[in-house]
């Protein structure tokens, strides 16, 4: 199951749906939005934007890459877009496998690949402006200086 959704991720449901009697291991990775602060300013929330349907296709492609490399029986990747509050999940990756080694390795692989190839972008909205993470472009004083 590979999806890009707006609105909160219900982590328990996404994970429980991957339990299978032929698997002994379920490894998950959940990315949560992290508070950040510098002198006089702090992150208030994050906003994610995706290039769809290319992003959906890339998630499914990562699932196929995993299936080629490891003995896994279920892979779920759900990425949230739009506004996400601090400490909330932005992505949930679930891998169910007969053995735990494969489950751990595949879940780590999934998040690394997401960060390499899936066209999704994160904008940190600070109290003094915003910045596109990775590009360092935005309206914050520091980001403007880089333009």
């Amino acid at each position: 199951m590979f999806a890009i959704v707006e609105g909160p991720l219900v982590v328990g449901e996404i994970i429980s749906g991957a339990f299978r009697p032929d698997c002994g291991a379920v490894a998950t990775f959940i990315g949560t939005t992290r508070e950040d602060a510098t002198e006089g300013a702090r992150v208030e929330y994050l906003e994610y934007e995706a290039y769809r349907p290319m992003a959906d296709r890339k998630l499914a492609e990562i699932g196929r890459e995993i299936a080629e490399r490891w003995d896994v029986r279920e892979v779920r990747i759900v990425h949230r877009i739009g506004r996400v509050g601090l400490g909330e999940p932005s992505v949930v990756i679930v891998v169910a496998a007969p053995r735990r080694g494969a489950a751990f390795e595949a879940s780590r692989y999934a998040i690394e690949r997401i960060k390499q190839v899936v066209p999704i972008w994160k904008r940190e909205v600070w109290s003094d402006g915003y910045v596109w993470v990775g590009s360092q472009v935005g309206t914050r004083p520091a980001a403007r200086a880089l333009r």
Partner: protein, 88 residues
């Protein structure tokens, strides 16, 4: 698509910081026969100079698959300008 007057338009989508720098998220560009992504990029930075400093960091997609600068673009193609991805 080929127009009656021989012009050929591709649809260009810009995301994230690239949309910010161009001040546009979607546009159409006319391209000549045999034009490449590189040609299209030159045209684009001529029109939106704010994109130029991002050049080294950007990736490009044609019809939703990553593509290099030598890739030919054809009428009706969807070209996307992709800043460094930062999902997860």
């Amino acid at each position: 698509m080929s127009g009656m007057n021989g012009t050929r338009a591709v649809r260009v989508l810009l995301f994230g910081a690239a949309a910010d720098q161009a001040g546009a998220r979607e546009l159409e560009l006319q391209v000549r026969d045999g034009a490449t992504l590189g040609d299209l990029w030159n045209e684009l930075t001529g029109r939106y100079p704010g994109l130029t400093p991002m050049g080294d960091t950007l990736a490009f997609a044609v019809n939703q698959e990553y593509a290099g600068m030598e890739r030919r673009v054809s009428p009706g193609d969807e070209v996307a300008i992709l800043p460094p991805v930062s999902g997860g």
